[in-house]
């Protein structure tokens, strides 16, 4: 364990009766980082967060906070404040009382309590609502109260369980930058659980991707986006075209290629360590996949048929189908699309340079 580790999960398992929510977690959270734990519902991400908060006890393994095991520490003896999905603000207290609550529980004196609460109300720009009831606030204001309430004790770590999921899209984006700035300015470690890729990737320094109680990959958003480690991650992100096949020596006599049901593709693997004949998965980002009317020379190409298009802001997604019915997608700017002059049902070639392909060994 390195010096900049704040939290470590060591062989942590959590089961509820026969249901195993978390299979076996081994990972570390660094001091001062913004870590997102991401996955679809039921993947164990919330259970992981709740174990860290002390709201669930691990069935096996050890969780350490600053090196000390905290398994047997009840939640009220830990300093792991959490922001709930429902925010869990106290409706019978006003905004100021909500923010002062944690300080009151620590026996902080009245004047000091008020001063520190005032600071955070000001920082979160909710001073003018201090005397209001929670029910009189908008979603975004409540969000800020919840953050102020958790941060007023100036913790080392803040746990967030999908706190933005109830907000509308525009407010969500605004709160994302509030959160990110807050994390940067305070240096507090944020652990942020979400099912939303855009939230995780826009805010986090590192992302943990979980599936069925296991960690699929940990890395920076760029790493995960460009080089997914498992087939699950590639499928989950949905930003790559995925091909499965077997590795073999290149047909030109040099290099390595992968043989799939829609063709053989050259791989950019100068130092290949994967045994030939092994099955593997090739992923190509949809932004790196090109389209043309004729087969391009010297690139990996797949004959496809265009089946649809979808416009989202500045880019469009073109939906394609290979000869064996596999779906492919391509992201293109409007300018480029206009030049290609596409229509649905057209036969095309989807292609990419071999260095844009990414190999996942042992699919």
């Amino acid at each position: 364990m390195s010096r900049d580790t704040l939290v470590s999960f060591e062989g942590v398992v959590k089961s509820f009766g026969n249901f195993v929510a978390v299979q076996r977690l081994d990972f570390e959270i660094k001091k001062g980082e913004f870590l997102a734990i991401m996955g679809s519902s039921g993947c164990g991400k919330t259970t992981t967060l709740r174990m860290l908060a002390g709201l669930e006890a691990p069935t096996e393994g050890v969780i350490r906070l600053s090196g000390k095991p905290i398994n047997d520490l009840p939640t009220w003896s830990r300093d792991t404040p959490m922001v709930w999905q429902s925010l869990a603000l106290f409706p019978f207290l006003n905004v100021r009382e909500n923010v002062e609550f944690a300080l009151k529980m620590r026996g902080v004196g009245k004047a000091e309590r008020r001063r520190r609460a005032e600071q955070w109300l000001d920082r979160m720009q909710i001073t003018e609502f201090a005397e209001r009831n929670i029910s009189q606030l908008s979603g975004g204001q409540r969000q800020r109260v919840a953050l102020a309430r958790s941060l007023v004790v100036e913790p080392e770590i803040l746990l967030l369980d999908e706190p933005l999921s109830a907000l509308d899209a525009a407010l969500k984006v605004r709160m994302q930058s509030v959160l990110k700035n807050l994390q940067r300015e305070t240096g507090i470690t944020f652990v942020y659980v979400t099912h939303s890729q855009s939230e995780a990737f826009s805010m986090a320094d590192r992302v943990v991707i979980m599936s069925r109680g296991n960690i699929e990959q940990i890395g920076t958003p760029q790493e995960i986006y460009r080089t997914p480690k498992t087939r699950f991650v590639a499928d989950f992100l949905g930003s790559s075209n995925v091909f499965t096949g077997t590795l073999q020596r290149g047909s030109a006599g040099s290099g390595i290629e992968i043989s799939t049901s829609v063709g053989r593709f050259d791989l950019d693997l100068p130092n290949n360590s994967n045994p030939l004949g092994q099955s593997a998965t090739l992923t190509v980002l949809d932004t790196k996949t090109q389209l043309s009317h004729t087969r391009p020379a010297g690139a990996n190409a797949v004959p496809v048929r265009m089946i649809g298009e979808e416009f989202v802001g500045a880019t469009a997604t073109i939906y394609l189908e290979t000869s064996d019915g596999q779906e492919m997608r391509v992201q293109k700017g409007h300018q480029e699309l206009a030049e290609l002059d596409l229509e649905i049902g057209q036969s095309l070639f989807a292609w990419w340079r071999k260095e844009d392909g990414h190999l996942i060994a042992s699919s």
């Binding site: 009840p74 009220w76 404040p81 959490m82 429902s86 869990a88 106290f90 019978f92 009189q136 004790v153």
Partner: protein, 281 residues
């Protein structure tokens, strides 16, 4: 949003409305009128004389009974609420869903028997040679005087309202958002402190309404103060019967009854106001 009452809606509320007018508003109006009648030679005469009001309000015995009744009902509300809360809390938070259903079912059972029957059975427990004193005598204790005491009256009030108060408290406790409790724990609020800081404020409406029910039931109760308390000290309900028995003084009894109704209305209004304080904004 307030909407005008439609004819359709009125069709369903009309029977209740008629019932209320016939058996609440009409007797109440009659009671008010009765309180101004006069009694001469044991015969009541319709009249408009404030003599009943001035006589009753001028009597120490009336104000003593009033104070006693108010104090007893208030004590019963507090005592019942305090005793019922741990039970309701345990059923709401510590039992499984199946056990909770059984607990609710068991708490309904006391209502199967008449309150009067339950009070009589308390007599066999509390009397000087009753069950409790017999058992105590086996270990050389007693006998203790338990029947015809204020304590016995209080037991009667508990018998009357305890199951109801537990149920009302329970229904307000089960609807508490559990994440609020977790959030309190997460902010260094221990178990017991959470009960006072979060659980009770969250369930305030239900807890106050439950106590109010206990107050209303105890305030007007006649059975317990007579059959368990032995009629001492005199409560307003006892005073009403005494007044009607002594010289056909129904108008004076009406004064007592109206005072009781007025008191209950004020108490209920204040309690409901307090129960919903800070809500519905």
């Amino acid at each position: 949003m307030r909407r005008p009452i439609s004819l359709y809606g009125l069709t369903f509320s009309l029977p209740l409305l008629i019932w209320q007018v016939l058996f609440f508003v009409f007797p109440l109006v009659f009671l008010v009128a009765l309180s101004f009648w006069t009694v001469k030679n044991f015969v009541m005469r319709p009249d408009f004389d404030t003599v009943n009001w001035t006589t009753m309000y001028g009597r120490t015995v009336f104000w003593q009974a009033y104070g006693t009744t108010l104090a007893l009902a208030a004590a019963a509300s507090v005592l019942t609420s305090v005793l019922a809360f741990p039970a309701a809390y345990a059923v709401a938070f510590k039992l499984s869903d199946t056990s909770r259903r059984w607990a609710v079912f068991l708490m309904v059972i006391p209502f199967f028997t008449s309150y009067l029957v339950r009070v009589y059975s308390w007599q066999t427990f509390l009397s000087d040679n009753g069950i409790i004193n017999v058992i105590l005598s086996w270990i050389g204790l007693g006998p203790f005087v338990m029947l015809n005491t204020v304590g016995a009256t209080m037991i009667g009030y508990l018998t009357l309202s305890f199951p109801l108060v537990v149920l009302l408290q329970l229904f307000s406790l089960v609807f508490i958002d559990r994440t609020l409790i977790e959030a309190a724990h997460n902010m260094r609020c221990g178990r017991l402190r959470t009960v006072f800081e979060v659980v009770i404020p969250s369930a305030r409406t239900g807890l106050v309404i439950a106590a109010l029910f206990c107050f209303i039931l105890s305030f007007g109760d006649f059975v317990s103060p007579v059959y368990l308390g032995g009629g001492e000290p005199t409560t307003l309900s006892i005073l009403i019967t005494d007044t009607t028995k002594s010289g056909q003084q129904w108008p004076r009894a009406a004064v007592i009854a109206l005072t009781m109704i007025g008191t209950l209305m004020v108490v209920a209004f204040v309690a409901v106001k307090f129960a919903y304080k800070g809500k519905s904004k």
